[in-house]
């Protein structure tokens, strides 16, 4: 036995040393990040969530998951080309190519994640007014209903019309205000600007209150391409 152990020990020592050295090297070695689009877009997920769900703690950060890719791409390009103003977004996408923005848009459009529950705190008459505006519009003032473009179930339409249900009220109201005050633009002709110009602050409050009270339908996907015929000409839809 003894000679045996004596023979083994130095070898064992080397094995242990090598193992230790190897594990030390492994620990010190740089762990390369996975080459995935999620990893490349950590800059986005800090505000919009890893699954593009948007963040509750700041309701101005909208969800991106499941929105039509054409719509997301248009917004990224609008931020880059300054048609839409939000300083941190203008800065972040300033030097990104069309191809990369398309890939980012495609990524978020394919994510599926639960929607927040609806809230119904508004007074009944306000909800009724909002519901009328959303469904029928106000023909006397030449205001089309939301459904005319955003689809019967208000989940938007491929390839570039966003859904209006499942959004936070603060975000919706802020966007309508931004359109009204020329802080948000779409590609010309900017149909949403035309609509926003016709809306009063009370209209915006009412339609927002009604929209956030709507449940998200079981199938939250945007309606197929060609299924809505917008009554106005919209640059964001007609241009590729």
């Amino acid at each position: 036995m003894k000679p045996h152990v004596a023979y083994l020990l130095p070898r064992l020592r080397w094995t242990l040393l090598l193992a230790a050295a190897w594990s030390f090297a492994a620990a010190a070695q740089v762990k390369p990040p996975p080459d995935t689009i999620q990893q490349r877009l950590l800059a986005c997920s800090i505000c919009h969530g890893e699954q593009g769900e948007g963040l509750r703690k700041n309701e101005y950060y909208p969800r991106l998951a499941g929105k039509p890719a054409g719509y997301i791409y248009n917004q990224l390009a609008n931020f880059r080309d300054r048609r839409r103003e939000f300083a941190i977004m203008n800065y972040l996408v300033a030097y990104l190519s069309d191809n990369y923005l398309l890939e980012i848009a495609d990524h978020y459009s394919k994510l599926v994640t639960p929607y927040p529950g609806q809230s119904t705190r508004a007074a009944p008459d306000m909800l009724a007014r909002g519901g009328r505006l959303a469904n029928e519009g106000d023909p006397a003032r030449k205001i089309p209903g939301c459904v005319a473009c955003h689809g019967k179930s208000l989940t938007g339409a491929e390839p570039a019309i966003p859904g209006l249900v499942g959004l936070y009220g603060d975000y919706i109201a802020a966007q309508m205000g931004a359109w009204k005050n020329d802080k948000r633009h779409a590609m010309a002709p900017d149909c949403m600007r035309e609509v926003a110009q016709l809306l009063t602050p009370q209209d915006i409050g009412a339609v927002t209150a009604w929209l956030v009270a709507q449940p998200v339908p079981a199938d939250p996907r945007p309606a197929p391409a060609g299924s809505v015929k917008p009554p106005l000409e919209c640059g964001g839809i007609t241009r590729k």
């Binding site: 762990k31 490349r40 950590l42 800059a43 300033a94 030097y95 990369y100």
Partner: protein
């Protein structure tokens, strides 16, 4: 004397780099048998090298139609339309007029141009190159867009007063080769000092807004934009002397290199100008820049400011924040991942005296530019609402003083000054 000082002060810092996304129109394809086409193609290349697009284009608008707002401490400038529209652009200019602007800094009517237009650099450009750029501009689609009048305060709006500043700080003259240097070095010097106008940002302007030497690349804070353009000569800032030429070329061409990545105004320069340049020219620029860096003796060690005892609390807070927010990408030891996440250890961009760039990158994050060599860059998240000023100061101090880095700590007050998204 005071009046003279005022006059010359006019020019201070009128050189903000603009950035814009829309791609310049592709030059018409060259046909070997058509010398005019060839000249236009050459001009398109040189216009990219001079980054004309950056200032003469508003993001999302027609290329080269001007209108970009350039805020300065003396008032606001609006860049002119340089498309060949005869009424609102430079369609009525001759090649001689164009050369006079490039070489002498005078407009067609003889008036002095503000040095936000970097004629102090462009004066080095050869007549042949100026003519090629002119031919390219004349080949563009004319855009009718009236150039907006500058809104400079008195007395800076009195252009004739520029004469005093010019007498002191401007001497027209083409680039002269240095026969003692290689062909490559000379080509690099021509591009860096002339068309590239690198020292418009990478030099300290004196109290009168002038850069006093053509080969001054001592670094400087870009006014209004508040990014710090690091010294290209100091081993304490970019430290190019200790880079391989290939690494410098990589950074200029793709926006990322083994130990660095470009953000902010430099991302715009890479996107619209440098990535369009030939490998030969980038190589020449890198050779020249590296030589500038080696020319000067290595700077002394960084002053580390307060003692380790005084910063111990900040370092503890910073270490915790680093572990929670930074280590997953930049690695626990700050070594980063080459070409993906820049290293923080032994990176002059982190440890240089002025901490404004690391502070702004922590606050606003950012992407290096999409380039042919790096089309899908990895981004850094903005932490401006995740971390308060004390926390940002702590983590920036931590990375400036860990793993062998030893640089001055920063403060919450300094972070507060840098809050706000960078303007472009």
């Amino acid at each position: 004397m005071r009046r003279l000082a005022l006059l010359v002060g006019v020019a201070a810092a009128l050189f903000a780099i603009a950035c814009s996304k829309q791609e310049p129109p592709a030059p018409p394809a060259a046909k070997a048998e058509d010398p005019k086409r060839e000249l236009i193609t050459k001009g398109a290349y040189l216009a990219a090298a001079a980054d004309c697009y950056a200032c003469h284009t508003v993001r999302g608008s027609e290329p080269f139609a001007g209108g970009l707002e350039i805020p300065t401490p003396f008032g606001t400038l609006f860049t002119p339309n340089v498309t060949p529209d005869p009424e609102t652009g430079i369609g009525s200019w001759s090649a001689d007029d164009f050369w006079r602007a490039m070489h002498e800094g005078r407009s067609k009517d003889g008036s002095f141009l503000y040095p936000a237009f970097p004629y102090t650099n462009y004066t080095k450009v050869t007549r042949a190159d100026s003519d090629a750029i002119y031919a390219y501009f004349m080949s563009l689609k004319p855009v009718k867009k009236k150039s907006r009048a500058h809104e400079m305060g008195f007395p800076y709006n009195q252009r004739q007063l520029m004469a005093g500043w010019r007498a002191l700080y401007f001497k027209a003259g083409e680039f002269k080769e240095d026969p003692k240097q290689s062909k490559e070095w000379n080509r690099g010097a021509y591009l860096v000092e002339g068309l590239g106008h690198c020292n418009a940002c990478h030099a300290t302007r004196n109290a009168l807004g002038a850069i006093t030497a053509d080969d001054d690349y001592s670094g400087g804070l870009i006014p209004v934009q508040n990014w710090y353009a690091p010294s290209l000569t100091s081993s304490r800032e970019t430290g190019l002397g200790d880079w391989e030429v290939k690494e410098i070329v990589d950074l200029l061409r793709t926006g990322v290199a083994e130990r660095s990545a470009v953000f902010g105004p430099m991302a715009a320069v890479v996107m619209h100008s440098l990535q369009e340049m030939s490998l030969g020219d980038l190589n020449a620029m890198a050779v020249y820049l590296k030589a500038q860096s080696e020319k000067k003796a290595s700077a002394p060690l960084l002053d580390s400011g307060p003692s380790d005892e005084q910063t111990a609390g900040m370092m503890r807070t910073g270490a915790k924040i680093y572990k929670d927010y930074c280590a997953a990408c930049h690695q626990p030891n700050g070594e980063g991942v080459p070409r993906v996440y820049p290293p923080l250890v032994n990176n002059a961009a982190i440890t240089m005296r002025n901490p404004v760039n690391p502070i702004r990158v922590v606050l606003n994050g950012g992407f290096p530019p999409s380039t042919q060599g790096n089309p899908r860059p990895y981004g850094m998240p903005p932490f401006y609402q995740e971390l308060n000023n004390e926390q940002v100061a702590a983590v920036v101090t931590y990375i400036r003083r860990s793993w062998g880095n030893y640089s001055s700590p920063t403060t919450a007050a300094e972070v507060a000054r840098s809050r706000g998204v960078p303007a472009d």
